[in-house]
Symmetry: C2
Subunit: 478 residues, 2 copies
Amino acid sequence: MPDEKSFHMSPDDFRRHGHAVVDWIADYYSRIETFPVLSRVEPGQIRASLPLQPPAKGESVETMLRDVETLILPGVTHWQSPNFYAYFPCNASGPAILGDLLSSGLGVQGMLWATSPACTELETHVLDWLVGMLALPQKFLSSSSGGGVIQDTASSASLCALLAARERATNFSSNRRGCDGKLVAYTSSQAHSSIEKAVQIAGLGGDHLRLIPVDKNFAMQPDALGRQITTDRQAGLVPCFVAATVGTTSSNAMDPVAEIGRICCEHNLWLHVDAAMSGTAALCPEFRHIHNGLELADSYCFNPHKWMFTNFDCDCFYVADRKALIQTLSVLPEYLRNKATESGAVIDYRNWQIPMGRRFRALKLWFVIRHYGVEGLQHHVREHVRLAQQFADWVRHDARFELAAPVPLNLVCFRHRGGDEANQTLMDRLNRSGDLYLTHTRLNDRLTLRLCVGQTNTAERHVEHAWKRIQEEAASLP
Amino acid sequence: MPDEKSFHMSPDDFRRHGHAVVDWIADYYSRIETFPVLSRVEPGQIRASLPLQPPAKGESVETMLRDVETLILPGVTHWQSPNFYAYFPCNASGPAILGDLLSSGLGVQGMLWATSPACTELETHVLDWLVGMLALPQKFLSSSSGGGVIQDTASSASLCALLAARERATNFSSNRRGCDGKLVAYTSSQAHSSIEKAVQIAGLGGDHLRLIPVDKNFAMQPDALGRQITTDRQAGLVPCFVAATVGTTSSNAMDPVAEIGRICCEHNLWLHVDAAMSGTAALCPEFRHIHNGLELADSYCFNPHKWMFTNFDCDCFYVADRKALIQTLSVLPEYLRNKATESGAVIDYRNWQIPMGRRFRALKLWFVIRHYGVEGLQHHVREHVRLAQQFADWVRHDARFELAAPVPLNLVCFRHRGGDEANQTLMDRLNRSGDLYLTHTRLNDRLTLRLCVGQTNTAERHVEHAWKRIQEEAASLP
């Protein structure tokens, strides 16, 4: 007698519970401004409310949703609040959530073309669309020598770029023989920490990462880069990789990609351009100057999950020479062999990334582009930049404050003239109030506040309110 | 005048469209058995149906859903079909889809405890639950010296384990000084390709990976491992890492973890145990013998996204010494400094993984455990094992076929006695028929069919039908 007992959720139950979860999310967005943006719980507080043991018997979805409301929500920092100005945004949108839901529902694993052709082909297609939408160099098109792939994060994209650079510089022998202690990588002192992490992971060693000094705008000094490369070559080392940043995390500084690119060409170094946050701005023709010189890059990435209304995780990573990337990251065991792969006519994205498995992430990106249209995306990016520039103007005209760096796009670095302690107090009070959330950096060794206008729903009234609250707290500083 | 134009989806529109997407998914599961399991499209066919240019103006969700149905679905290989027996499963379930939907809706980015305490604390809590549920060693508990973290895949988990091993073996100097060409890693000739990929990425070089021979059951030979370690030491090399597999991809072979562990202790090597597919079996006390010796491991992983009804991506990775992992993967820039981190009282999971950002993946795992209860999970795992064993019995009793390897759990490796060509024909015809999807490997240099019973909804009638279809195709072989 077959045992037909089942604990699975039936399609009808899924329909019913699914509607309830969708409703909960719709309601969440309707009331999101009522929550303190930064969670106020203490370490351990959420865990203390959870049962020590897992349930022996199944529980109802109603109970689980109630627990999300009462036990989880207090521990959530509301990244999707329009009053979120911290770090860089990790923005979401309705169409992205729905595209991601479809991806979860279909549940395909697209490691190979053959394991779900649509997963691979839609990804290639949408990444080709984005080459046009951002006016990226044609060599990043899949119809050219290159191509794009969705990575989880810019950290992983940088690591893949570095690995390909490492292999190219050693005639594809490091994969086999290991690192030889001679390879050197370069980035600016303002680059994201993930570059240092990648250099460590890839076995080059942090001592072989040169942090090139920056100019007064926190952008890499190309002359210093050129000199350092020459010095390293003369010392018998092998320079192989430069990571330039278009929009640093600290202050949104723009490295001079064209000048850096010419140096990389001259010395035959792999140039990776990390535009994780700011790349999205190139949707608008008036901001495309940020990519000047990109035609000299070997790889490039930007994150729709930061500023293009696409849920995490979604980093778009492009290479000019896909063969170098694939040769670096391919290992083909028997159990993955298949006719499509052997025909050479398809892309197997597992060879473009660190993990083997992958979900159908192109769906959410496709939904976002189609829902907004190019016009809608441009509108909201422009609006964020306009609001950040407006905020910067307010700062400029308040004698108590100063701008700490140029404001090329939508990140404003500013500080109270009262010194580090005043700024720390200001930030702590604002964040504790729950009215908004912003974070800090250090520029020229001074504590600096960062306000990034990039959350999907941030509109004029939110930025006005943020400035009003900052002024209020400044007025009550000791 | 503020520009209040908006292209965003309103909460009410999200509610309406969300219900439609949920309904589409519920309907998809109701009719999933009507689709050919393996997609029949040709390379390029999906792309050819998509517009060359992205839309300038936004489109309706109705249009997008219609395109999912007509343009995307033909290119989908149905991993969630109960007739999917290929590779290892990547299974999903209603509660997992709903938990993941909530994660998309909340849109939090949990790189730090402070950036959403509930994201970190629920993850720690659920991973501690799983230590009990699988009867894993207590040292993997967060209240001990170790702890668990959700990684995207076992590939990434293995890479993190290898990196920590590399650092420990070099007194945490490789991160700084780079690989020195002396470190050696070990795994069996049957291990997953991700181990070789990790060794390449980490800069050890594939030449420094020893593929230890296996016994007749395809399990690593510990004596050979011990001899190889001694040989390498005598040659002045530095053995640092062993990856044992509990359930190999090719044939579900079980490496003798206890014996391997004793050798690792003796030589002070990091032992990582990859139980990506089979670890889930330990939910049931009668299968926990697969983890014998795990108390000697430094790290361990298994994938709820393979066989525990939790949507991709979800790999649970445990370490016995979290300090070693954190020291290996930490880089702390100013803009991430915060009081909670500096208090030392919290976990910042960005230091437990390659990428920096992370989504709230614990929600789906929490929903799965609570919906099924331990009892429900055990039931379905037992049932899958029972069905695979039944299938193996049918093979044993059909003179045309033979088993190609032991069947410890839910993977059956078998072949037609007619040789490689007969098996290739059999597999191609079955897969082309659309009735089921299974894949192959090579064992003892002979083409071998693999049938894994692990898709969420696979029940007795599906396995019976699969065997019937295999017999039919066998009868019509030339």
